[in-house]
Symmetry: C2
Subunit: 216 residues, 2 copies
DNA sequence: CAGCTATTGATATATTTTTCACAATAATTC
DNA sequence: GAATTATTGTGAAAAATATATCAATAGCTG
């Protein structure tokens, strides 16, 4: 089965698109509707679905509720997933306070930092010393962590995370971390993204054909 | 010339890798060094370079300083690029205060919001009423904007940005925005990224071969 | 300074990803 | 309820992307 990261990313987008379509009153959708809402082709939608064995009705499309449930199941979103953050600076703090995950089965449960002035162990989402990271992760069976420390610390901290048993890291530090054998790492690099925009805005200025980019 | 978004993203990463290699004392690099540092193959590095007419010396590799300068030139990073943010909530505020752009030629110059309690017009990086967005963008010739408003407002605000003359949008709202003809949009969707990690961590649990993902 | 060696740059090959095309078929119409 | 139509599901084709190969050659060695 040829099923890759991009395909999963699209699955998440389909789920989001479905949420919007549902809010608009859709009870069933056709691959074309979803394609429009998610910004892809209808072939792509059907192909993606076929990879995961998602089926609809010929001529009848897909029932929105069933489809959402099926996608959530594939994405493992029918359970709650606990997530921790290391590095409670600007970005880490913002993510710690970010609302809007919970509906989707993602719950940020704790933050960690080395700076004692940032500790807030009594809060509902506590900010704890980095020293306590490993025991917390182990006793709470955390698998996913967000890394939001300065670049110089990033590699070191990623090793701490992996040693503690974290299996998925969302990395905001501006260095490209590489996953170990059984650890998945997603890198989000704001500067790289902005550089990309700058590049394409510049070439557009030079009247090269317009460009639209997707994330992935 | 087959030059796509991914290729530009890699160019940014090469630049970052070069910065690190330089700090390590490298004066010249071979495609293999860069490949290792950036997590790609050496063929990929040379292919990317050839697309932009970047040349080295056979047997002599590439001179780090020249290479960095050339890449910066291609990315348009030898000038300062002014960036604005709309939506000074958690994320927007964090980005407004984020250090580490300036070295790279990116400067966040102002934030905008509809909530008067957030206005701070006297700060070095002022937070201004959204009403003033258009005139500010026009008189300061801003081309790049970060969109960090709640999902329900995202589409509307993106139209305001485009109407004001913004040509590149970095979108943090959890809906997939689509670019107009001459507007480039990059979507960063935290929930989608986390869902992705969750998926791959889950399949890894089920002892499927290990997966490592790259951003893009 | 002739021969050797490592590396680029370019072309060819392989792989991955997307789109196309259409048979199968479920809903709708008459 | 037969004919028609719209939509899925999938295998084949095309396009895009990445890797491998190798001749050309710049630098190194003795």
């Amino acid at each position: 089965m040829v099923m890759n990261r991009k395909c999963i990313l699209r699955l998440s987008r389909y789920k989001n698109a479905l949420k919007r379509l549902k809010a608009l009153g859709f009870v069933k959708v056709f691959s074309g509707n979803l394609a429009d809402a998610a910004g892809v082709t209808s072939s792509q939608v059907r192909k993606d679905f076929s990879l995961f064995g998602i089926t609809g009705n010929r001529r009848g499309g897909y029932k929105v509720d069933e489809l959402v449930l099926r996608i959530r199941e594939i994405l493992g979103k029918n359970e709650i997933h606990k997530v921790v953050i290391i590095g409670i600076g600007n970005i880490g703090n913002a993510l710690l306070r970010y609302k809007g995950f919970e509906t989707g089965g993602i719950r940020i449960v704790a933050g960690f930092d080395i700076d004692p002035s940032r500790y807030q162990p009594e809060r509902p989402v506590p900010i704890l010393p980095l020293d306590e990271f490993r025991s917390y992760v182990e006793s709470n069976e955390i698998k996913i962590g967000i890394l939001a420390v300065p670049d110089v610390a990033a590699h070191h901290v990623s090793e701490i995370m992996i040693a503690a048993g974290i299996k998925g890291i969302l990395n905001f530090a501006p260095i490209q971390l590489r996953g170990a054998d059984d650890v998945v790492i997603s890198n989000i690099n704001l500067e790289v993204e902005l550089e990309n925009l700058i590049y394409f805005v510049n070439v557009a200025d030079k009247s090269v054909p317009a460009l639209v980019t997707e994330d992935d």
